[in-house]
Symmetry: C2
């Protein structure tokens, strides 16, 4: 065990795109747990689009992240020292310890996970927040029925990939939107989606709407939206009456780009329901979601893919890459 | 009883704003009811924004109205001759007999109404489709709780006026948007809203958002949207977390104007629910709605106002006026 711990703090707020100088790497002594606390060595750090929202100061669902504080982030790791009776040294634990090599926890929000059947990194993806996000938005907002068409944007990502696979398991036609032929090929060939649109080939609304119509000839009943912009607007043009839209993310606008909705009329004319959500506000859904997701992963019916950066210092670039769509599946940073 | 009946048919489809030459007045013989049919003399014709959607050929929730057919429209009148055992000559009946002086019905969609306590015209407004629309959108989509703020656009209209009064009865702060000082004064002074924004004073998004913030200092929890455009977009900027939006109409875009939503992010960030609806698809709600609305009208707690044009020939101009916001309260045409 090294005597020092690296961490990455928020150095400044981005005014547009995130840049490396918005972060600062610091080296501090490894902290000692007080009574009731646990010291965790972080093995994997999760990078997620929501972090961008916390870095800026606009009106958002959470307080902006304080300048100088360790960046927030989901983590999985191993208990190094415990002064909390609920945890023992050697326990594998998932939690939100942030962008650092060692983190202290009083045990709240820290969950023991079983890494004997699945790699611990899965608890940051398919069996963690992204997986439960997919499950919640699909089952609690979209409520797809067998035979319906489900479209998901960012389909190769940590959330989107699970949405489509769950939709297939529910007897739906699953259609994705992803960036580039490699991701689209993966979505169809590996994940079993029925079709995938490469959004790079459809940079305008009309072209995107036409592409959606081609892959969803019976119209779209459920839209799981991670991207916004032309993805959302183009799909709106193809929604069926009483369609449901789970609004999970708007990554197309994360650098402040305008992401207007032009097909406003469709919301009324097709009597659509659109609902924004954050999975952390629906903790009651987690047990049911994790049970189904765990069974799907264990049975090989739910596949997932990870992009792993190595070393804490690589986190800022990996995060910027995630916001640009450079990752392929769940973006992680491996620290150990 | 005159031997001829006037009717107004759709002469051509509007390409933008509706114009008088989209309509044609025809004189035909008064029809004779066949076995099972009822001949109704129409006393009042209802004019409603949805009719614009039926005149054009865009993708909408209903088939476009056929050229040459009598314009669709809700009516209330008196049975003149009946060959249907469910109706007697002299019965006052509400139905959808269209823009004509005499209409035939096989009894389906025809409802006997009691005009002894309220004028029969009320069954086209507060006790008809507009009133039930208000009740449904507010109670089934917005679900306001006492103490919350409810905002409704087109607040002096047939739907909006009922929304605000029901919101007050539910213990909410009711805020309206209407066009001009006269309508705003009526909304506050007569209908009892807490405040009303004159949208003519706020032609841009920023100004409208500021105006909403002023009248809804605690934020908006429920939006009942009849207008769209800047009304919707400006209010979006002021929505509270978990706000609900009942999307009932988009009259700002009825002539084909672009009505984009710019505050897309608020839908996600505030975890809003937005739902489009058409009250005719929720017939199960009508009895409960009419019971509550009837009690409110009878008890004087729900007020309403009508703008009445006289004579069938005045219907096209009255309809064009409605689309321009020239009416004040429920727009009717009096035929008898």
């Amino acid at each position: 065990m090294s005597a020092t711990s690296q961490r990455i703090v928020l150095a400044s707020r981005p005014t547009g795109a995130v840049t490396p100088d918005n972060f600062r790497l610091e080296t501090v002594p490894v902290p000692e747990p007080a009574e009731g606390q646990v010291l965790v060595r972080v093995h994997y750090l999760s990078l997620d689009p929501y972090m961008k929202g916390r870095m800026i100061e606009s009106r958002s669902y959470a307080q902006p992240h304080p300048i100088g504080d360790t960046m927030i982030g989901g983590t999985v790791g191993v208990v190094e020292k415990s002064r909390n009776p609920k945890f023992m040294a050697g326990d594998t634990v998932a939690g939100v310890l942030g962008w650092q090599e060692y983190g202290l926890s009083d045990g709240r929000g820290l969950v023991k996970v079983d890494s004997s059947q699945v790699p611990m990194s899965a608890y940051l993806g398919v069996l963690g927040m992204p997986g439960v996000t997919a499950w919640y938005g699909l089952n609690r907002i979209c409520e797809p029925k067998a035979g319906e068409t489900v479209l998901v944007s960012a389909a190769s990502g940590a959330v989107g990939s699970v949405v489509g696979q769950l939709a297939k398991m529910a007897g739906c036609r699953a259609v994705g939107i992803a960036g580039g032929p490699e991701k689209c090929g993966y979505v169809v060939d590996e994940l079993g989606f029925d079709a995938c649109i490469d959004h790079r080939l459809h940079p305008d609304l009309k072209s995107m709407a036409r592409a959606v119509r081609e892959v969803a000839p019976a119209g779209v009943d459920c839209l799981f939206e991670n991207v916004g912009g032309i993805c959302l607007d183009g799909t709106l043009a193809c929604m069926n009456p009483f369609g449901r839209i789970a609004l999970c993310g708007l990554i197309a606008g994360y650098d402040g780009e305008a992401i207007p909705i032009h097909n406003t009329r469709m919301l009324l004319v097709m009597r659509l329901k659109l609902q924004g959500f954050i999975v952390g506000e629906h903790m009651d859904a987690w047990p049911a979601a994790l049970k189904e997701l765990g069974a799907g992963v264990a049975g090989g019916r739910i596949k997932y893919r990870e992009t792993i950066a190595t070393g804490l210092a690589s986190a800022p670039e990996a995060f910027i890459g995630l916001l640009r769509g450079r990752n392929f599946g769940k973006q992680l940073v491996k620290l150990v």
